[in-house]
């Protein structure tokens, strides 16, 4: 009996993973239940779980639809999406970093938000136009919609500024350097500013902002990389000069890469200024700073702006929502997206996460009328541009951000960097990017 049953049993065991996969398909495909992958927006994933539990509870009360959500850390989210994209074992709705929007759009796995779909979630006019601009490649139907808005701004320590006799935050880079030099005293471990020089993402964002101010771009209109253009060389040289020439940033910062080290130095009065994103407010408060301890101002710009230079102070940062095209619950997924981007929910969620609403109406709430939030809003609405919306945006960040990381490391080791040093490194990066794009 056992001998007869053994082959069948063996086949059953071997096929078990396959059956399990089919079974999971069945469970996600039933009734009014959708799955949602959320990104980590709060100080911890536990906080996110708490916040989103309430949100999905409210959504169920409204619509009768159950949302099974999972909060995924930023370090894992991209690979989880990649795996889901490849295997087809995907959630219905998910959060994405908005700089990934063109990359994910190119995989053709996501639902296009065309006119009809946009109408189903309340229309595109209610969104902030800059945030909406970072939801897919230019000229194509977007495959995501904004959820949380973020932008860079200059954070400065009020007490340190007062002690140094500085009345107002700098609005140009020349003023920034002057103020930072007044605030720097390496002997006491105090520096004018702090940066995350080891972070490829931060470096890529700085490159983009400074390049725009110098009148450059990272790609030309045909999407050919222009990393080594004279404007970009000037932009990156200035960035490395913060350590090597002006000596207003600690050489140690060339190693900082966690996204919390520079804000940590700022909170501990080791640095008087940082240029960071909206969500940093929560980190600073967690590090013991009171909101009255720091001011938030617009990011300095070059003065005068060189020919072609734009007063860009931030890329359009933020988190978007996407729907997998394969979803068997398209209507429920759209309803959920509509709910998450509704004015009421936008106010609630962005208040908790200290981020910016992506729908215009939400700004009427007093929480977003404070000087701090208004500064962020001004930057996002008037002085922000989307990072290059190309499918290879991730490669661009790795190549450009990685090269700037090496240049900062060289600057930090005490070797003064010339324009030709920067030019040589950026040319090499440009060749690598061209090769990644199949252009070399």
């Amino acid at each position: 009996m056992f001998r007869k049953a053994f082959p069948a049993l063996a086949i059953f065991i071997l096929l078990l993973p396959l059956l399990a996969a089919c079974a999971s398909d069945q469970t996600t495909g039933g009734g009014d239940t959708i799955t949602y992958w959320a990104s980590n927006q709060g100080p911890t994933i536990a906080v996110d779980n708490q916040v989103l539990s309430q949100a999905v509870k409210d959504f169920k009360a409204q619509s009768g639809i159950t949302v099974n959500f999972e909060v995924i850390s930023w370090s894992d989210l991209f690979n989880r999406i990649l795996t889901a994209d490849f295997s087809g074992q995907n959630p219905d709705v998910l959060n994405i970093g908005n700089t990934w929007s063109a990359t994910l759009q190119a995989t053709r796995a996501f639902l296009p938000f065309d006119q009809t779909t946009m109408s189903a979630i309340g229309g595109q006019d209610r969104f902030l136009s800059t945030s909406l601009a970072a939801s897919g490649a230019v000229g194509q139907v977007p495959t995501s919609v904004p959820l949380y808005g973020l932008s860079y701004a200059l954070f400065y320590n009020k007490a340190m500024f007062k002690a140094a006799g500085i009345a107002a935050p700098p609005s140009t880079w020349s003023e920034f350097i002057q103020d930072a030099q007044k605030l720097t005293n390496p002997k006491t471990g105090q520096w004018g500013a702090a940066i995350e020089g080891g972070s490829i993402t931060e470096n890529a964002h700085w490159s983009f902002i400074l390049s725009n101010q110098q009148g450059g771009t990272l790609f030309d209109q045909k999407n050919v990389p222009t990393f080594d253009s004279p404007q970009n060389v000037k932009a990156i040289e200035f960035y490395t000069d913060l350590i090597s020439k002006y000596k207003v940033v600690s050489p140690q910062d060339a190693e900082y890469s966690t996204g919390t080290q520079a804000p940590g130095d700022f909170a501990n009065k080791k640095a008087a200024m940082i240029v960071f994103q909206t969500g940093t407010i929560g980190t600073l408060e967690a590090d013991g700073m009171k909101p009255s301890d720091f001011g938030v101002a617009q990011v300095p710009v070059a003065d005068p702006l060189p020919p072609g230079g734009k007063p860009i102070e931030s890329h359009v940062a933020g988190i978007n929502l996407s729907i997998f095209k394969d979803t068997q619950h398209k209507a429920a997924a759209l309803q959920f997206v509509k709910f998450m981007t509704s004015t009421a929910e936008q106010i609630k969620l962005n208040k908790i996460y200290a981020s910016l609403p992506v729908v215009k109406d939400a700004y009427s709430d007093p929480a977003f009328q404070t000087p701090v939030m208004q500064t962020f809003e001004t930057i996002l609405a008037k002085h922000a541009a989307p990072m290059p919306l190309i499918p290879q945006e991730g490669q661009m960040e790795t190549v450009m951000g990685g090269t700037v990381k090496q240049l900062l490391a060289a600057a930090a080791s005490g070797r003064p960097l010339s324009a030709s040093d920067v030019q040589a490194q950026l040319s090499a990066a440009n060749q690598t990017m061209k090769a990644d794009l199949g252009l070399a």
Binding site: D85, T107, A109, I200, P391, Q395, T398, G401, K405, Q406
Partner: protein, 323 residues
């Protein structure tokens, strides 16, 4: 009544058995194969199949444009291999640079691990009080999870707050260097990997040392051989079978090391620490070019296979001639 019916049935069964001589259902020759069948099936699923899929992917233009509809990825033949092996191109020269870094890293880590492991094994092979305690202590780096080891080293290697530079400052070294950025990143990686892998060499070599008969050393001592001469003439030749396996295994592990550079430097390591495994990972999972990444993996596989084969040929042949 029922008892007599049962008896009749039994007799009938016995007669049938007598008529058809009992043959074993499975021949004796098949039994060993049946024993290894489950292992072969799992080997197929766990190693061979993924390897074959990897080779198949290397022949496809599987980029991000085809991730979701991967069955539609175009067949590109050996194009990915051409890109990887075109050392004049950006991708090929980066791969070659990564290969050279990996070779240097492997030679240093394997060499240092062997020297440290051998030294510790020789010291702890003697009989002295506390020997067991030391043996346990030396094995701790190997017992710790790789991630914990590397992340601890990354803290120790920080410029201003790290223990290494604190020590250098205490020794009056002015302006201690960066360890995690720039060219020193290579040495940081070598230090970390050596610290993690030398206890394995120690364990292996200690076991080998214990199998060498002590009377050989006694005879050599009587003949007036120095300790160094005994090491060269008795210890090393006796450990040859152990060393052949140990060096091959540590070579393969080190050449394929991913944890050390990834945990120390993330997905954008300094050029001095761009090991092949991480380089391939970036090609595949950051650039989403799985075709090119797979071609690089297959080239790595071929290289390691050839090196292992040549190595075993040389040392097995040497072993045979010794015998």
């Amino acid at each position: 009544m029922s008892a007599s019916r049962a008896t009749v049935q039994t007799e009938r069964a016995v007669r049938q058995t007598e008529r058809q001589p009992r043959r074993p259902r499975v021949s004796k020759r098949a039994i060993p194969y049946l024993y290894i069948t489950p292992a072969v099936i799992f080997e197929l699923f766990i190693h061979i199949l993924p390897m074959l899929i990897g080779i198949a992917i290397s022949l496809l233009g599987l980029t991000l444009f085809y991730i979701h509809y991967w069955t539609q990825a175009p067949f590109v033949g050996l194009q990915n291999y051409g890109i990887a092996l075109n050392f004049g191109g950006a991708a090929g020269s980066a791969l070659f640079h990564s290969f050279l870094i990996t070779v240097a890293y492997t030679i240093l880590v394997v060499g240092l691990s062997w020297v440290l492991g051998m030294t510790a094994a020789l010291l702890l092979n003697g009989d002295f009080r506390g020997r067991g305690w030391f043996r346990t202590l030396f094995l701790i780096p190997y017992a710790l999870p790789a991630y914990i080891v590397v992340i601890t080293w990354s803290f120790m290697l920080q410029k201003d707050n790290g223990a290494i530079n604190a020590l250098l400052s205490a020794l009056h070294v002015s302006n201690p260097p960066f360890w995690l950025v720039g060219t020193n990143a290579f040495w940081s990686m070598v230090m970390t990997a050596t610290w993690r892998s030398w206890p394995f060499a120690f364990l292996f070599l200690l076991a080998g040392l214990q199998s060498i008969p002590s009377d050989m050393y006694e005879a050599a001592s009587l003949e007036g051989a120095s300790k160094w001469r005994q090491f060269l003439a008795i210890t090393l030749p006796s450990l040859k079978p152990v060393n052949v396996v140990l060096l091959l295994v540590t070579f393969l592990w080190t050449f394929n090391d991913f944890n050390t550079p990834f945990v120390l430097f993330g997905q954008a390591p300094p050029p001095s620490a761009d090991l092949l495994s991480l380089h391939i990972y970036v090609s595949s999972f950051v650039n989403w070019n799985f075709g090119l990444g797979s071609a690089m993996s297959v080239l790595l596989l071929i290289f390691l296979f050839i090196v292992s084969l040549v190595y075993l040929r040389i040392f097995q042949a040497g072993g045979a001639s010794n015998e």
